[in-house]
Each structure stands twice: as structure tokens, then as C-alpha cells.
């Protein structure tokens, strides 16, 4: 059975995919079965050669992530009360405040984690999804891009963790109190949605070339 895979690997040019070989591979254990097999005999995973609904889920979660990313940036992330005066700061506002206070390093981390990474993820996923839809054959670099996006996604949660820790620690009543704002929830949701979006992406679609040059 593994012979098919080896054969495929040997015939590198052009790439013979499992689908072209009339096989379906298990996404969990890598075992291949003849196409049409419903369940993996090894691990019991439902076998699908190409998840045709995948792109819909990618787009749906991506949109959801982008939608909630807007309030995450518009509304305050932190509500800080010090001696009776309340101050609210958004993500970007917080970064600006940090720069003002000279903590450029921290500002950079927050900015990268909260702004650059999520935005890059939106662009990357959208880029890959569009490519698949247009039937453009993918290369290894595209696959690496996908893997990077999937890996880096969780680090965006760093901002949410900071807010959660601060809110839990700084509860000194009148003197100083920090409470999470609406943006904290929105941002957490945005990160979660984007991660689901990335996970929904069937990377096998990257190298599929539709027979008639039409999108799947």
C-alpha cells in the first residue's frame, strides 16, 4: 500500500497525487486506501479525497475572524481606573502609550502579536484560498506559508493573556483596577476564528490542478 506513495514520490515530475492515483489518504495516519473508501481501516477517520466544502469553511471562519477583528481594534482593550479616574485604551492606543513611555520593545511585541500577525494571517489565508479557487498550481513555498500561518496563529493570543493576567492581578479597588474591555473578547474570538479558518483549509487543494483549469 505504501508502494503507491513511494511510487508517487519517485515519479516526482510531474507529481502524481493520491487522487490521480485513484487513492485516498488518511489525514491522521497517512494510510492510503482505494478511492471511495469511507473510513480509514487503521484509525477510523472519515476519509475524503478532497474536502470540497473546505474552502467554504475557510472563507466563513476568515470572514468571522475579520468581522470581530474590527471591534477588537475600535473598542477599548483595557479599562484602567486609578484613584477615581478611568482610562480606556485600545490596542493601537496601548501601543502608542507604550512608545510614549519608552517601552519600545514591549510595544513592538504587542504590535506584532496584536496587529501584524492577525492581519498577515488574514492576507495569507485569503491569498491561499484565492489561489486554490482560481486553480493556480501551488508550490512548496505556498505549503510552507500555510504551515507557518497555522503555527504562528496561537501566538496572537499573547495580548489576550496579558489582559487576562492584568485583570486578575490588579484589583486594588479605588487605588487601581484593570478590567478587560469588549475588545479583549473580540480579539480572542478573532484569533480563534482565524485559527479555525486555517485548520479548515485542506492543504491538498494547494497542489490540485483542476482538469479543465476551472476552480474546484
Amino acid at each position: 500500500m505504501s508502494g503507491y506513495g513511494m511510487a508517487n514520490a519517485e515519479r516526482a515530475q510531474p507529481v502524481l497525487t493520491a487522487r490521480e492515483a485513484g487513492l485516498v489518504g488518511c489525514a491522521e495516519c497517512g494510510h492510503v486506501f482505494p478511492i471511495g473508501t469511507e473510513t480509514c481501516a487503521v484509525c477510523g477517520t472519515h476519509l475524503v479525497s478532497r474536502d470540497i466544502a473546505s474552502l467554504q469553511r475557510v472563507w466563513a471562519w476568515l470572514f468571522a475572524g475579520m468581522v470581530v477583528y474590527i471591534p477588537a481594534n475600535v473598542y477599548p482593550m483595557l479599562r484602567t481606573s486609578t484613584l477615581g479616574t478611568t482610562q480606556e485604551s485600545t490596542i493601537v492606543g496601548g501601543v502608542v502609550d507604550l512608545i510614549d513611555h519608552g517601552s519600545i520593545g514591549v510595544a513592538l511585541i504587542v504590535f506584532v502579536a496584536s496587529v501584524i500577525i492577525p492581519v498577515s494571517k488574514f492576507i495569507a489565508i485569503a491569498y491561499l484560498a484565492i489561489r486554490v479557487q482560481r486553480g493556480l498550481p501551488g508550490t512548496a513555498s505556498h505549503f510552507h506559508l500555510y504551515e507557518f500561518v497555522e503555527f504562528i496563529g496561537r501566538w496572537s493570543m499573547i495580548d489576550v493573556f496579558v489582559v487576562a493576567i492584568l485583570s486578575a492581578l490588579v484589583q486594588l479597588n479605588f487605588v487601581a483596577t484593570i478590567n478587560p474591555g469588549i475588545a479583549a473578547v473580540s480579539f480572542a474570538l478573532s484569533v480563534a476564528f482565524t485559527m479555525i479558518s486555517a485548520n479548515s483549509f485542506d492543504p491538498k487543494l494547494i497542489w490540485d490542478v483542476p482538469p479543465k483549469g476551472k476552480p474546484v
Binding site: G3, E20, G22, I35, V67, G84
Partner: protein, 709 residues
């Protein structure tokens, strides 16, 4: 090993129908979108209404921090602090919570709460720590939303929604009233004054006051306001007195009000109260003042109106019916050429004249037209005897020369005036004062003092003080006489005498001794007669003394009483005369030689009596008697009889002493004499009081002196 042949490419092409392939996963972004939009909309809806408040300065107001409070609850936050276009004011933009925004209508007021220390206390202390905040006040009736407001510098006195009534007061002088001064009703604070302002014409000071419910229900047209600011210093018969209402009103001024009569008419919508200087003015002036209430008239006077001023009363039969509004002079063309005459404008209240409420000015003029034809005239009168203030008096004279109400276009109807009897009256008053001045009050007082001195002198008289001593000596002598051996030995000697007498009788029988006995008896009789005469003088003296005390002094007191009575009966001049006469006579009586010598005479009499007794004891009457008895046994009965007279004499002496004692005691303390002296003094005191009462009565109503009532 066969090459594995790939299975048939049983690849089904993707279904073309997009809708049929539509995944449920699309609900997620839709949901996210919905939630986000929902949050956005809610946030937008909740962010409140933006209003702008213009302040003169925004000291302490910080954008994003300063809050807007209503009843000390935060209902908004300052978003922005800007300037108006001309930089004239600070424009504070406040985001107000939506639930209170509908109530913020045109009546809402805003002011910045800062710490303040004033005469009425310390306020806004909490803002020291938390920073200033903007306080708003509005009523609890939702109205149309207004977004532009003018902020106040100070908290408004009548916060919207607070029940009560806002009134306007007018006064001439605004120095004693200030913002926040209390409005008192019977000393209880029921309202506050706002900042005084000048009226449009600059003639008066207007100040708004807010009277809290339910006290605003007391306000009617009968309400009068007066100033209770500062303190009142008065000086009178009871000494100095300082009055002030409260410390706050002392510092910031205050006004008080009361209704001068019951069931006052309800207030019209824009009613301006007059603020009087003092309660007296306010209560006196029950007349409704002002051009709208009174009907104007003019009166032309030919004489001087010195002492009359605007605001003085116009009275009819003593009842105040109007007020003098203006004094001016005008040129009148007479047959002798132009002449200056004085014209007084008055305002008459028709209701006070008895006309029905709601009478028109025409009806009032009609009434006066008729009244003038039946003899009503105006004349000047003095307010009181001792002041030169004048008022105008409306009088109805039966024998007045005919006149009518002068009415000409463009001028006020003119009431005819008659000349007052002002100058005569003043002359009469002067005469009265002169007569009072001429009264010999001081002389009367001097004589009263003399009288007291004479009494005192009498009491201090040495002779009078010696009287008790003499009486004691007299008693001693009498006792010595009774206890003398000679008297004691009389019975024994009588026995001896009887024995001798027996012998003597025998001798007598022999003849010759009877004649000698007869002459001895005659001598004895003479001695006894002397003693009797001496004894008789003393009672007469005592009688004289008693007569003086019982008759003359009561008569004197009666006269003093009569003086007091006469004084009370206001026969002033004759009272003074008779008082003078009486005092003269009292003084003469006290000072007369007889009275002064009275104690001396008494003393002399007692001395004589003592001498007589001493003589009786020492001078050989008894010895002679013994000798005679020894030699006269026949005369035993008559001797016994004459000896029986001795106790009688003693009794009389005792009686005399008792009487003397009575006299002496009557001079002593707590005696009738003293009591009567005291009561005499009291009468003098009463008389003096009657005089002072009379003087006060004259001061109060001098008319009574002239008119006899």
C-alpha cells in the same frame, strides 16, 4: 507483480450549484457580524447625547474625566473642552446618559461645583479630592431636547423641579441685599434671594427671590417685604438695645415678609413686590402702591410744602388712602403775571376710599368730582406735634368756598386745596411748650428737699433725744420717793402720832395748839396745790403734743394728698401753687420756734416735776407733817386723808409718765409718727410720679393739653 493499475478515475466533478453546496459554517461569520454590529449599535445608542454648556471659565474641568452629576449621581462625562468661536466662553461638551437626556430641556441649569467657603458654610468639600464636577439641575418632566446651554457661575437658588415660587422685589437701594440672602417668615428661612440687578431704567434695584413650597402659598397682594439686614441699634428709656435676626442675615443681609391683612388678593403673573426699609414702613403702608393700582391726582398748594416729600401719606379722616408721588413747581398765569406754584401729585387708592374693587379710574374721578362739590378739600397737616413732617389730609368742610375738580386735557385732575392751620397750630404748640418750661418744677423739688431736711433735723434734735433720759430720771425719782424711809416710816410714825395725839389731845384740850395746827394745815394745803398745778401742766403739754401729731400732721398729709389729687386732675398751675404753699407751710410748721422748742418745753416740764418731787422728798413737808402729827392728834383723820392722796398722786404721775412715754415712742422708730412720716413721703413720691406722668402725657399727646381731652 503487476503494475498496480490505478482504479478508475471515478472523480465526480464538483456540483455546480453554489446554493446546494452552501455550508452551515457560513452562519458563523454571519453571527459574528451580527454580534459585532449589535455591539456597535448598542455602543452607539448607549453613548448618550452630546450637549454643550458654555461657561465663563472652566477651571478644573478636564475632558474625559470631569463628570456631570444630577443629585450627586454621575449621568455624563465631559468629552471635550473648547472655546466658542469668539473665544468669549469655554464650551464644554458633555455626553449625557440617554435615560436622563429627555429631561434636559430648556429649564436645565448647569454649574461647576467647587469647594466654597462663605458666611453660610462650607460646600463642595468633596471636590477637593475628586476634582470639580458639573452639577446639573432640571425638572422631572421630560421635554424637548436642547443641546446648547449657558452654564451658571453659582448654583441656582431655584433649582428646577423644586416646588416653590419665584417672585421679583423692587427696592431703591441694593446695598443691604446680596446673592443668597435668606428670606424669612417669622424668623424661619423659607427662601433665598438671587443676585440683585438694576431695572432697565436704572431707577430701582430688582432682585428675584425664590420662596419654597409650601410657604409660597402665603404670598398674596397683602404680602409686604422688608429688610432685616444688619442690626438695629435703638436707644430709649430702657437703655440701649441691639437687634439682629441671624448671623447670616447680619453678614449677607436678609429680608422678611408677612401679610399685612388677611385674605389678600392672589398674585398676578408678573407682580413686583416692594422691598421696604423697615418692618414699620412695610406694615404702615398697607396701600397698594404703584401707578397701576392708584388713581393719580394733582393738588396745588399756595403755601410752603416744606416737610412734605414723595412717599408721604394722604389721609382721609386719619385713614391712609393714598401716597404722595411727586412734588414739582409750575408756572401759573394769573392776572398779576406768571406766578410759581407748587403742585403735588398724589396717587389715591380707590378701594381705600371705599369704592368697590375693580373701579375704573374714571369712576374714581367721578367720585371725587362729586366729593369736591360737597366740600372735600386737601390741606397740609403735620404728622405729629414734635416733627415737621407733613402729610396731606383730605377733609370735608361744610363752609368751604365753592370749588370744583379742575380737569384739563393732558393734566391730572386737580383737587382744590385750602390753607392749613399749620402755623397757628405751631404757635399754640410753642405756647404749650413755653408754659411747660415756665412751670416751677425745680422750685417744687427744692421745697420738697427742704421738707425732707426739716424732718431729718427734727429727728436729730438733741432735746428730743434727751426726752427718754428725763423720763427715766423722773421714774427713778418717783421710785425713790415711794421707797424713802420717811414714807416707809409713816405708819409707825402715825401710830406714834396717834399715841402722841392722845397725849396731845389732852394738851390741846388744855388749849392753844389748835390755831398752830390750823396754820400748819393751810401750809400743807398750799404745798399740795402747787404739786397739783405742776401735775396739771404736764397733761396740757402732752395734749398739745398730741394735738400737733394728731391734727396738724394728718392735716398736712391730707393737704399733700389733695395736692396729688389736684395734680392728677391736671390743674397744673394751681397745683404747683398749692404745692408750693403747702410745702411752705409745712416748712414753716417744722421750722417754727414752737415746734423746735417743743422738746425743750417738755424737758423743762419734766425737770420741774422732778424738782417738785425732790422738794417733796427733801423739803421738810413730811418732817413738818410728822411734827405736826406729833402735835395734832385731832387732825389724824384729815392727815390720813391727805396721806391717801399720795398714792393718787403717784398714779397720776404714772399716768403722766405713760403719756410721756407714748409721746416719746411716737417719735421713736416704727411708731405712728414714723409711719405717717413715711406715708407722707410716699404721698410726696406719688405726687412726684403724678407730675412725671403728667409730663409724659403731655409729651405723648400735647393736643390733650390744648383741647382738654
Amino acid at each position: 507483480m503487476t503494475e498496480p493499475t490505478p482504479a478508475d478515475m471515478n472523480v465526480t466533478p464538483p456540483k455546480k450549484s453554489f446554493l446546494r453546496n452552501l455550508s452551515f459554517v457560513w452562519l458563523v461569520p454571519l453571527l459574528a457580524l451580527g454580534v459585532s454590529l449589535g455591539i456597535a449599535w448598542q455602543n452607539y445608542a448607549d453613548r448618550g447625547t452630546l450637549i454643550e454648556i458654555a461657561f465663563g471659565n472652566a477651571s478644573g474641568v478636564v475632558a474625559g474625566e470631569t463628570t456631570l452629576r444630577y443629585r450627586d449621581v454621575v449621568v455624563g462625562t465631559v468629552e471635550e473642552v473648547n472655546f466658542t468661536d469668539d473665544l468669549g466662553q469655554v464650551l464644554v461638551s458633555v455626553r449625557v446618559d440617554n435615560d436622563v437626556a429627555p429631561f434636559i430641556d430648556e429649564e436645565a441649569t448647569f454649574w461647576v461645583v467647587r469647594p466654597e467657603v462663605s458666611a453660610r458654610g462650607i460646600s463642595g468639600l468633596s471636590t477637593v479630592l475628586s476634582g470639580v464636577y458639573i452639577e446639573g439641575a432640571w425638572d422631572n418632566v421630560a421635554g424637548s431636547l436642547t443641546t446648547q446651554f449657558e452654564g451658571a457661575d453659582t448654583p441656582p437658588l431655584n433649582q428646577p423641579g423644586r416646588p416653590g415660587r419665584r417672585i421679583t422685589l423692587a427696592t431703591d437701594d441694593g446695598t443691604t441685599i446680596s446673592y443668597g440672602s435668606p428670606v424669612l417668615f417669622r424668623g424661619v428661612e423659607v427662601g433665598r434671594l438671587e443676585t440683585p440687578r438694576l431695572s432697565a431704567d436704572g431707577r430701582s434695584v430688582l432682585v428675584d427671590a425664590f420662596i419654597d413650597a409650601p410657604h409660597d402659598a402665603r404670598l398674596t397682594q397683602a404680602t409686604r417685604f422688608w429688610d432685616t439686614s444688619g442690626f438695629e441699634l435703638s436707644f430709649g428709656a430702657s437703655g440701649f438695645s441691639v437687634d439682629f435676626d441671624s448671623l447670616a442675615s447680619l453678614v449677607t443681609g436678609g429680608i422678611e415678609f408677612d401679610n399685612v391683612y388677611d385674605n389678600g388678593e392672589p398674585l398676578p403673573s408678573s407682580y413686583v413686590f416692594t422691598l421696604y426699609k423697615a418692618e414699620e414702613d412695610a406694615r404702615r403702608n398697607t396701600l397698594v402702591r404703584g401707578p397701576s393700582q392708584g388713581v393719580p391726582f394733582a393738588i396745588q398748594f399756595a403755601e410752603s410744602v416744606n416737610g412734605l416729600e414723595a412717599g408721604d401719606d394722604v389721609t382721609y379722616q386719619g385713614l391712609e388712602v393714598g401716597v404722595v408721588t411727586e412734588l414739582r413747581s409750575r408756572v401759573v398765569e394769573t392776572q398779576f403775571g406768571p406766578e410759581l406754584s407748587l403742585l403735588v401729585n398724589v396717587s389715591i387708592d380707590p378701594q381705600r376710599m371705599g369704592l368697590p374693587a375693580g373701579s375704573t379710574p374714571e369712576e374714581t374721578v367721578e367720585f371725587f368730582r362729586f366729593a369736591v362739590e360737597t366740600g372735600m378739600r386737601a390741606r397740609l397737616a403735620t404728622e405729629s406735634l414734635l416733627s415737621s413732617d407733613l402729610r396731606i389730609e383730605l377733609v370735608v368742610l361744610d363752609d368751604a368756598p365753592s370749588a370744583r375738580l379742575v380737569e384739563s386735557d393732558g393734566e391730572l385732575p386737580r383737587l382744590p386745596s385750602i390753607e392749613s392751620n399749620l402755623s397757628d397750630f405751631t404757635a399754640t404748640a410753642e405756647g404749650v411748650l413755653e408754659r411747660i418750661n415756665a412751670l416751677p418744677i425745680e422750685e417744687v423739688m427744692q421745697q420738697a428737699i427742704n421738707l425732707m431736711n426739716a424732718f431729718e433735723q427734727l429727728a436729730r434734735n438733741e432735746d428730743l433725744q434727751r426726752v427718754p433720759g428725763s423720763a427715766v430720771a423722773l421714774l427713778d425719782d418717783t421710785r425713790a420717793l415711794v421707797g424713802s424711809e420717811a414714807i416707809q416710816s409713816i405708819p409707825a410714825q402715825i401710830e406714834a402720832a396717834v399715841n402722841d395725839l392722845t397725849a396731845l389731845v389732852a394738851e390741846v384740850r388744855e388749849g392753844g395748839a389748835v390755831d398752830a395746827l390750823g396754820s400748819a394745815m393751810r401750809n400743807l394745803d398750799r404745798a399740795m396745790a402747787d404739786v397739783a398745778v405742776a401735775s396739771q401742766d404736764a397733761p396740757a403739754l402732752t395734749a398739745n403734743l398730741r394735738e400737733i401729731t394728731e391734727t396738724d400732721i394728718p392735716a398736712l398729709l391730707a393737704e399733700l394728698e389733695a395736692v396729688a389729687t389736684t395734680a392728677n386732675e391736671l390743674e397744673l398751675q394751681s397745683f404747683v401753687d398749692s404745692a408750693t404753699g403747702t410745702l411752705n407751710r409745712v416748712e414753716a410748721l417744722i421750722g417754727s420756734q414752737d415746734t423746735m422748742e417743743l422738746p425743750g418745753t417738755l424737758n423743762d416740764a419734766l425737770t420741774e416735776m422732778r424738782l417738785a418731787l425732790a422738794e417733796l422728798r427733801e423739803g421738810g413737808v413730811v418732817e413738818n407733817l410728822n411734827a405736826t402729827l406729833q402735835s395734832a392728834s385731832d387732825a389724824a383723820g384729815s392727815v390720813a386723808a391727805s396721806v391717801e392722796d399720795l398714792p393718787q398722786l403717784t398714779a397720776r404721775l404714772e399716768r403722766l409718765v405713760a403719756e410721756t412715754e407714748t409721746v416719746v415712742r411716737s417719735y421713736g422708730d416704727r411708731s405712728d409718727f414714723n409711719t405717717q412720716t413715711l406715708s407722707a413721703l410716699r404721698e410726696v413720691q406719688n405726687a412726684a410720679r403724678a407730675i412725671s406722668e403728667l409730663a409724659r402725657e403731655i409729651e405723648r399727646s400735647p393736643n390733650s393739653l390744648i383741647f382738654g381731652r
